[in-house]
Subunit: 437 residues, 2 copies
């Protein structure tokens, strides 16, 4: 019953050890309608310029600008309208001197013309069944023309592989003719829940027991991160059976997550299972709260994430260690959640020797980011997770934190991502002491 | 060929007119695994307290604190360990004076005990097959106990109906036994694309024509907003056929979006179609850029959104006018995208008489929000949409805007939402003049 000795490592070091085993997945094609929320499997490159031809951004008249030099309020000039071009049509006749073509928004500029006069600035006339307009100002060469390639040159990378496909990316995919879109294949991620205190969701409450929330929470975190979750159910209480369950699940997935069972308690089977699997334990103790018992092991290059059994430690462990592995699999070069600076929205008086990741709610006030801890911040508190949209990073030390101090935050709903060296915890530590004493 | 007169109304007024026709949808049940990304159909209420019983947050020994009063460094007391309780078990024997029960994290406190001693602060002993520990400090009544209801009392509303279901909400749903989750039924939203310049995605480029990006962009915006998109394809060029297509599609959906065809050009059929449908046109001109021709009509309480044919006007029109209708249908009381203040990241020198909604990219710098216009900000530019995560609101006026000025932004990826009166454009106008002259 003695406490097993474990050597805690730093969070940064833990992330680095995990990322040693990162690998990228394959790509597949889905119809563009199904692409939203997926991740680009390849760079999206413009295969033609945008606009693809010189076109009119307004309704108006295409003309030769040289004809307008003498036009003025005192000297209105009259142009003959010899035809019209709808968007999608091409005008093939010759446009002569003092002639014009009625042009619709988006239509291609006729070869003979070099400017467009907006509909609003002319006076339209009819005479003998012919159309004319009167112009009282001169027009410059190029006025009111969107030129070929003005938006984007052919060959431009418009979105890198691994990019989360949002509605704007879908617009680009459509523009460049991707009826089917190359998307990153999602990693299959197994979940096994452990803990003899866990009830299934449809079981009535019993003394001493709680319902299994971690498995479903993690399931949703996997979906948010871009993985394909597979829930293998709850562990059996017998070690031999457990071992077989883990071994079988591990074969079927790209990585396996267990929740609970990684402490040093008598019912914590995971350490024994890693040993029997001959898995290489990368670490089993991290100098952070919550989630200090988070364990990651590796076998044949495939990762096993032993997340803590308490909800917020489980949540934090997933976002810090599992998410970047998933996003790398999806081909992202910025697989980490974005870290930024915010102002603490409330005192956090209790000093703590360990680096803490406190669930927080981000709000904005006159352009500033305010991050406020939510709930009681006990690691077994589940209710505050619903409001959490950031993790507040509070480096360990001998003092607490005061409202208004600068703190690092990790944006939980962010899709842009960051590279790992965006900044380090040490930077934050020094910021903190420089900025506010 | 004369320009039809239209009376522009203010953006606020347009939103209000649309919201007159808001209505809420029904609810259905999905398995909890499928609930992520949906919207709560009912308030989520705690039907039992959390924790549901007094429990230990740590591994340790449950004791009667009164026995420890005299313990000190100079006077270590020895306790007999008479049993153990794993998480999920209940200890039913009596715990007597100077006795203790080994207790695991999460396990229920025995009836006779009122405190927990952490494993780390005792020295464990064995003698004659019995277990003991030595304690050198006194323990207070209630130490290291998570009390019933300390996190949440029974009856607390933990998340309101209409809330976007994130991993934290899923954890709550699991905790309260929702094997099946009541979610808001998504509104069916039809899309019809118009424009004779539009090519299907798999057609090769042709002179004067462009590929149809709006339909797919809008399709994804509907998904992001929480609707169920149905694409009815591109319009036929014949007005009678168009009318029949619109009428048939309108029957099948909760609301219908058309893209393009709302201007006053010769090929803009929508005005004629609204008339034939006997639809009530709420407005057909808004004092804003882009999207001034955005038209919304209503027939028998059902809405037709006539979005502009140019991509960024289409995008903005959807987010300002269609999204809040969708989120209201999903039972949200905060159906609008959140509006905040940010600092302009670049000069925007061109003065404009109209309120502008400029696509921007939000970044953060030392706790401040910086919103920078992306792309060329011409309304026909599609490439900048991929990077846009905010709309920058630039009220019309006689001056341009400078880097560093305060501007209002609308957060495009936000899931929390806002009520309409969060602030008004006028507030921003006055802010602007007060803050920066």
């Amino acid at each position: 019953m003695a406490v097993e000795r474990r050597n805690p490592i730093k969070v940064n070091e833990a992330i680095e050890r995990v990322m040693t085993y990162k690998r990228e997945g394959s790509i597949s094609y889905v119809p563009i309608e199904q692409s939203y929320g997926n991740f680009l499997g390849e760079d999206l490159i413009a295969d033609h310029p945008i606009p693809p031809f010189d076109r009119s951004p307004y309704d108006g008249f295409a003309i030769q600008s040289g004809d307008t030099i003498d036009a003025s309020r005192g000297n209105p000039l009259v142009f003959e309208v010899i035809g019209e071009i709808g968007a999608g049509s091409v005008f093939t006749n010759t446009v002569g001197k003092m002639q014009a073509v009625r042009i619709m928004t988006g239509a291609q500029i006729p070869d003979d013309c070099d400017a467009v006069v907006m509909l609003e600035v002319v006076k339209e006339l009819e005479d003998g069944g012919k159309s004319y307009f009167e112009l009282k100002r001169s027009i410059e060469n190029g006025d009111n023309i969107s030129f070929t390639g003005e938006d984007t040159e052919a060959g431009t990378v418009l979105a890198a592989k691994g990019t989360h496909i949002n509605p704007g990316v879908v617009a680009l995919l459509a523009t460049f003719g991707y009826k089917n879109v190359p998307v990153s294949v999602k990693p299959k991620i197994g979940i096994i829940a452990t803990g003899s205190e866990l009830l299934a969701l449809d079981e009535p409450l019993q003394p001493g027991k709680i319902r299994n929330s971690n498995a479903y929470m993690t399931y949703s975190q996997i979906l948010r991160a871009g993985g394909e979750p597979i829930y293998f159910g709850q562990f059996n209480d017998d070690l031999d059976t457990c071992f077989e369950q883990v071994q079988a699940a591990f074969e079927e997935v790209d990585l396996l997550i267990t929740t609970g069972g990684v402490s040093v308690g008598d019912f914590d089977y995971l350490p024994a299972i890693y040993e029997r699997l001959n898995a290489n334990v990368l670490f089993n103790k991290i100098g952070m709260r919550p989630g200090s018992v988070t364990t990651v092991a590796e076998k044949d290059g495939k990762l096993l994430f032993g997340l803590s059994g308490n909800p917020s430690a489980c949540y934090v462990g997933f976002e810090l260690f599992t998410r970047p592995i998933i996003r790398t699999y999806l081909h992202s070069d910025a697989p980490f959640l974005k870290k930024e600076i915010a102002f603490l929205g409330a005192d956090f008086p209790k000093a703590n020797p360990f680096d803490r990741f406190v669930r927080g709610h981000l709000t904005y006030k006159e352009g500033k980011m305010i991050a406020t801890p939510v709930g009681l911040d006990k690691s077994n508190v589940v209710t505050s997770l619903a409001d959490a949209n950031v993790l507040i990073v509070l480096p360990g030390g001998t003092r607490g934190y005061e409202q208004g101090m600068e703190v690092a935050i990790i944006l939980l709903e962010d899709q842009e991502g960051a590279t790992f060296n965006h900044f380090t915890w040490n930077d934050i530590n020094s910021r903190r002491s420089h900025r506010h004493v």
